[in-house]
Each structure stands twice: as C-alpha cells, then as structure tokens.
Amino acid sequence: MTDQEIIECWQGEDAPLLPILQAFHNRDDHITEAAIKTIAASLRIPLAELFATITFYHHFSRDLPGKNAPRVCTGNVCCLNGGTQLLESLKAEGATAMPCAGRCDDMVPVLRGDKIYVGQDADSLENRPTPLPADNPGNAEECVFRHIREEGRSQLDGYRYSGGYCALESAIMSSRKELIDLVIDSKLAGRGGAGFPTGLKWKAVNEAHGSPKSIICNADEGEPGCFKDRAIMDHDPHALIEGMTLAAYATGARRGFIYLRYEYPETEGILQRAIDEALNAGLLGNDILGKEDFHFNLQIRRGAGAYICGEEGSLLNSLEGKHPFPRNKPPFPVTHGFENLPTVVNNVETLASVANIVRKGAAWYRDLGLGEHAGTKVISLSGDIQKPGNYEIPFGFSLQTLLHDWAGGPRAGRTIQAVTMAGLSGGFLAADDLNVTLDEACIRGRGSFLGAGGIIVFDDSRDMVSAAHDAMEFFAHESCGKCFPCRIGTQRLTERLNGNDKQLSLENWQEEVDDIGSVMKATSACGLGMAAPHITESLQRYFPEAIKSHLKKN
C-alpha cells in the first residue's frame, strides 16, 4: 500500500491514528521519519506531538531491526523461568525485552511481527494457540467459562449451538431499562480492577446527554500475571461481542471499540473474524436483528505497548490519537469519554459475563458467589505452581483451596513463600497469611486488593527482594511520567531494591521507602502510582529479614 492508500483507508474512520501507525509499522518494519511527517500532515497533528506520542509506546520501532525483530517476555514470571536466557540467545537477531506479555500459563512468549511463539529455549519456540482453561477442578458452576470449552465455540455456529445470541434476541424484545435493571440486580461489577457496578455505569451512560455514545471494551490486559481476557477473546469471542452489543442496546451507543493490547496479535484476527460473522448474520451493524434504529458499529483498535493505556482515561486519549496520559477525573467517561461523549468502558471479562446473566437471570448470577458475595471471578494463576492457568472461582472462595486443591500446590519439594494479588498491583501475601477468601472485602483487609485477579506464586527458592525489585521496575517502566509522585517514586523505589544502595542504613532506608510509598498512595494522579507501593509495603510487612540482609549485602 502507498502512503496515500493507507491514509485514505482510515482517515474517514473514528480513531484513525493507531491503525494508521500500525499500517506503516507493518509495511516498513518501523515508523520512518518520512511516515511521521506524512501522517502528521494528513491528520493535522503537530509534528512534535506525533513524534512524542509514538515514543510513548514500547512496541513502535523507529529504527531497524524493527517490528519483526523478536521481543522476548522478561516479565515477572518469565524472567524466573528462562526468559532472560532466551532473550540472551536471541540477541543476535536483534531481540529486545518486553514486559509481561500475558502468557504466564504457557511460557516463554516471544513476539515476532504478528505472531507469538512460546518455548523455553530458542529451538523449542512454537506458535500455538492460547491454552484453554482446564475443566473446573471443583465442578463449581461457571458463568464466563460456562461454554468456553465447547467444540467450535469461537465460531458463530458453535456459539449459537449452546444458546449464543439468545440473550440479545430476548433483550431487544423488552426495554433498555429492563436490561439495565437486570444487570444492576445481578450485582455484576467491573472485572478490570476497580469493581465499579456495571449496571450503574450503563445507566449513567444511558441517561447522559450527547451522542454518538460509545462502548469500549478494555482488552489492554497489561497487568503482569493476568491472561484471562486473552483466553476469553481467543476461545469465546462472540460472548464478548454479544456483551458489547447488549451494552450498546442498553445505552443507545452506536460506536464500539475493542482496545486490544499489542502483545495479542493473533487475537485481533480471531476477533475480526467473529465480528465479520456477526455482521453477516445481522448481529452487528445496522438494524441489528431487524430492529429498526438499533445500530452498532464495532471496530478493533490495537494498542502499541503501554500498560497505562489500560487505565481508562489514558485508553481514551490513546484511541483519540492524543498523548496517552491519564485524564483528570471528574469528569468521568460515562459523561466525557471518547471524544468527550458518553462512553462505557468495560473489561473483557465483565462484558463476556453479560449474555449468560441475561439468559439465566440476575438471581442465578448473584447466587454463584459464596455467602454474601455475588458472582464469579476468573483468576489467572501463574508462577511456581503445578497447574498454572485460568480458574473461574465463586467470589468468597478460599485461596488455599485454589492453590492446593485446584492447582496442585507448589512444585515437588517446594513450599509457597508468597503470592501476589491483582497481578502485581496488590503486592504480596506471605505464606503465613494465605488463609483468605477471594473477595475484595477480605483481600482489602490485608492491605491489598483482588483487582483483575492475577495471582503469581513464588516458592521458597525465590529471593523476595529481587521479586519486589522486578515488580517495581515494571511500574517504573510503565509510569506515564505525568505526575511527580509516581514518576520519581517508582524510580527511587526500584533503586532502593536494586542492591546498589550503598549509603543507606536500615533505618534511613525504611524511612525513605515509607515516605515515598505514602506520598505515592496519597497523591498520585492515577491507580498505577497509588498501587505500586503495595509492593514495598508488603515486602516490609512480611519479609523484614530479607530486607536486612539485602542491605547488608552491600
């Protein structure tokens, strides 16, 4: 394609910048200065701004070897399982490191162009599909994974075979309000980390003035140790599409975007095929299911490597082609979202739950949870555990049962030393504090949070200070640089954990780490900076001896 063809292909569409950049990146293997000049002129973006925005994204190459040079995951699980060595062995091909690429259940992922290969060493690298979740080990009733293991589920026929799109068919027979009330009644809440009640979000967008409204699926899944959205999208893409279309019906939104992380290249193809199938079957597009005036235009936009673009304000700026700093809140996306118009931003898992909730009822969903907790949560379990993978648990489920009964416990001869919560954002829970139930109330009681449900296991062979260092290094790498406490704080905390701190006494070390942590938690402009100090806090709480010897080593 010529420059002009690429530009013309996207210029009239919503959110054109990312796909244009991707197209040049694909064609030339990197984004050249000439391309940047052409794009800036065509989209009327100031040149300095476009240049700077491109540098924000980890995966956009501006030099050769570029896009097709291998990127090896050295994320927090992979670096303990051969990632670092694999990177070393691929250096001759121009390999570079990338943060957690969301394949912690099937390591080590290597991204080459638009394909993910996995393997423990250079010779065994192989392109294979995302692992399916294992059968539920406790025979617990599921919502999200209810049908995911069925043959042909990722195609429309297979999806329809077990009742797919019935929820949409029935929902449009009644009013928006009934659908919204049902979702409110089910107590479904955001599964992307913040846990905001989904029905209330939809209600706010339905009631907000301004159009066109948008539904955005947050498929950025950047949190280390989280790989549930990938499994859902790869194996049950229509569940997501049906959920988004239901959200569109409930809110009157006509535009939809799936903001997909760069590290899931094959997922884009799977989603696009499913969208095309749905379009052809009249389940997307104009007059959906023959209903007059029910239009929903769904498009995929791929990110380019930035954890912060999972934060909704940053995601919206990224979609709009702006510098992806988070936005100041309020106003919230429900009133000032995509292009400052009312917008639902929901996680993949949240949206993929909706169709089953509509089909089986609010009470059914609520009752899936244990005790007073409603519903289920997919937990991505990885690290030093026998059976890593995605497990759908009822809220309120025992962590110990998940670790030992469902996932087979630690590897032979090892014991669990600690696990993380919320991927990395919740910090660590140590072995003697694992008698918790998996629900926000309980986990928050431990000074942590469940968040998106990533749990990484560290056994007794691991150095917890170095695990904490790698975690903090991730946050420093991903801090957007907008606000002072996080931009400087993540850097200083990484330095305090890197073993090069020769001058500090234990007392001063602790005072500095505490002061930085508390200023980050209290004053950071978004959740990244607020959450990062969970790492150092929990390290200090559970592993004071390890810190002492870390400082003595110097």
């Binding site: 200065e33 940047i36 100031p46 040149l47 300095a48 701004e49 476009l50 240049f51 700077a52 925005t53 540098t55 924000f56 930035a306 912060i308 510098h323 100041n328 309020p330 420093a476 790498h477 991903e478 801090s479 957007c480 640089g481 907008k482 606000c483 002072f484 406490p485 931009r487 400087i488 704080g489 993540t490 850097q491 200083r492 330095e495 001058q503 500095e512 002061d515 930085i516 508390s518 200023v519 938690k521 209290a522 004053t523 950071s524 402009a525 607020m530």
Partner: protein
C-alpha cells in the same frame, strides 16, 4: 463568610468551607483558584494560571471531607458545601516529601534569576519547606541539551522537573506546538520532533517556555550573558517598542545596562506573552552603531549631527518645498500597520490637515 463584593459579574454558584471559613464561589472556579483568592498559599509547580490545569506536581493537594485521598485542588472544581483543608500536618509532610523527591532528580538547584521569569519557583519552595536535604538520592532524570545552537534559549534539562509547562504554554498560548514530551516515566524528555534543535522545529523563539519554566532548565541565553556583571537586577515597567500590540514588558537592568526582558504577566494587551522581537531583540539599545542624535545630510553627502529642533526644522522645510513646487498631492503618507491607534490617528491628521491631501494609507494595504 467571604462573600463577593461585586455581585454583578457572574452569579454566585455556591459556597464552600476552606480551613474553617465559609467562602462564596462562582461557576467554574477550582478549589485552587478560590484558595488563592483567599491567600492560602497553596504550593504549586506545574501551575500557570494562563494554562489549563494539568495536575502533575500534586503539591496543590488538599483534603476534602468525605474523600479518602487528598485531591489536586488545581483540577478539582468547587462544589457547594465542600469542606476543604489546605494545610494539615499530613498534607505538609506530603508536600515536603514531594519537594525532596524533585530536588533529588536535579543537578543544580541554585538558579540565576536571569534565567527567566519563573525560574526561582522551585528554589523558593525548597527553602520554604526546608526540603533540599539530600534525601532520596539516585539517578538524575535530565538529559541536558545545552548544545542546541539557537542563540536565545538554553536547554539544560538536567534541571528539568517534567512539569510540562513549557510544552503546554507553547501549545495553548502560542499555538506553535514546537515541543512535546518524549518517552515516559522517569525517562521523559522535552523534545522537538526527531530530537531536532529548536532552529529546525516550529519554534518561533517567543521565549514563552523560558518564562514559565519553574527551574531555569529553559533559560534566557542572552540575559545570562550578564550573570557576571556586578550589581543587582532592577525591573522597569515599559511597553515593547516594536509594534502596535503594545505588550507590557519589565526591562531588566544592571546599573544602566539593559540585560534582559520579562513579559509582564499583568500586561493588559499581552498577559505575559511576547514575540521574539520584544523578548530578545534589545541589543540595539547598547549597540555602538545606534544613532543617538539626529543627522542631517550635507551637500557633499556626509552627515552632520544636530539637535532635534534643527532636524525637525529641516524636515518641515523639505516638506514645504515639495508642496510649494509640486502641489499638495505630491505628498503621500504611509503609516506603519504596526503603529498604535494614537500614532496612526496623528499621522492621518498630519497628512490631511497640514498638506491638505487625502493621500494617506497604511502599509498593510499599500
């Protein structure tokens, strides 16, 4: 209660309590603006009242009753009934920690005031909070660009604290979008496209970025030439001599030497803005070639220095001669399009009344 004296301009939107005092506010006011109005001295580093509030430095955080974390007062709109505290022990401690963190990433905290209008802001806050004490030592975040060859702006990013005021003033006030934020996190840098020198960018050298920089990371190269001159800096309010806009300036002098120009933030015509000429083109003042007396050309072509009276007499005589010899329409006046109203008015009066011709126009049409 602090109520508005002048009820006419804009309706009162509500009232909130700041540090125990009930205060009225108008629609669209932020907590910070109200606090400033009531002289609370809330510290800031990323704030410039001319720019959209950005919320980067987090020094302006205040406590809001009913909300767990403090909020940035600069980006938070006032709401009726809010109860705000601007100066609790916890807030002051956070502010001090933040300032210590900022100090730790900078290589030079002793900044020459000739660097720019706002260049002392960081230094002043550090001493107010007694915060420059070497805690949090570690890597520096700057990547100096001192060898940018432009003659006006020193780019010493070793002192940069990533407040992005320069980027925002360039975009929001100037509309030039010459600079932006490259990379992210601790590695952010201020850059023109492709890392170019400013001369190879959209920069018009208006100097706005220099004047809003709170650290002297962007500094006035021309003013800094005078940093070794003895004497204190004094400021004289004046009007830029170049064009009809009439930007207010503060002329910086050491003894009787003009050493630099600051835009006047309260100048009614410019509100802190200047262009390259008003900002940097003052060297003519002390230039040896500058004419300081009128000259009259002699018969042999050489010039003779005279007093103003003689010069004006000679000019008047010349004009009269032309009119007598060739008639009143032999004279035409072309006024500078950049002259202020008053001068343009005087010019047309002069041409019409004293020569009796309507041949008067201005250069933008001729």
């Amino acid at each position: 209660m602090i109520a508005f004296k002048d009820k006419s301009s804009g309706t009162v939107a509500g009232s909130l309590t700041i540090d125990g005092e009930l205060i009225e506010f108008r629609d669209g006011e932020t907590i910070y603006q109200i606090a400033e109005r009531c002289r609370r001295e809330v510290p800031t580093l990323c704030y410039d009242e001319r720019l959209e509030a950005f919320g980067a430095c987090r020094l302006c955080v205040v406590e809001l009753e009913g909300i767990h974390n403090p909020v940035a007062s600069c980006t938070t709109m006032a709401d009726d009934g809010m109860v705000v505290k601007t100066k609790t022990e916890a807030l002051e401690k956070h502010r001090k920690t933040l300032l210590e963190m900022v100090a730790s990433e900078n290589s030079n905290l002793d900044v020459d005031p000739l660097s720019g209008y706002a260049s002392q802001e960081l230094g002043q806050l550090l001493s107010r909070y007694n915060a420059n004490n070497g805690r949090f030592a570690g890597n520096k975040s700057g990547d100096s660009n001192r060898d940018d060859k432009n003659p006006f702006i020193l780019r010493d990013y070793d002192n940069c604290i990533s407040c992005y005021r320069c980027v925002r003033v360039c975009a929001e006030q100037e509309g030039d979008h010459a600079i932006n934020v490259m990379n992210r996190g601790f590695n952010t840098q201020i850059t023109a496209e492709f890392g170019n020198d400013l001369r190879d960018s959209q920069c018009t050298f208006c100097g706005q970025c220099v004047q809003t920089c709170p650290t002297g990371a962007l500094a006035d190269k021309k003013a800094l030439r005078a940093s070794d001159l003895p004497g204190d800096i004094s400021k004289t309010r004046s009007i830029c001599p170049y064009c009809g806009v009439g930007c207010a300036v503060d002329i910086l002098t050491k003894d009787d030497r003009v050493v630099g120009i600051h835009p006047a933030m309260d100048g009614p015509a410019n509100e802190g803005a200047l262009c390259i000429k008003g900002q940097y083109a003052f060297d003519f003042v002390h230039h040896p070639d500058r004419l300081t007396k009128p000259l009259i050309r002699q018969a042999d072509g050489s010039f003779r220095e005279v007093e103003w009276d003689d010069a004006l007499q000679a000019a008047a005589a010349g004009f009269s001669k032309v009119r007598e010899k060739y008639g009143r329409h032999a004279v035409t006046g072309i006024a500078s399009g950049r002259a202020p109203h008053e001068a343009a008015y005087t010019m047309q009066k002069f041409i019409r009344a004293s020569f009796g011709t309507n041949y008067i126009d201005n250069c933008s049409r001729s």
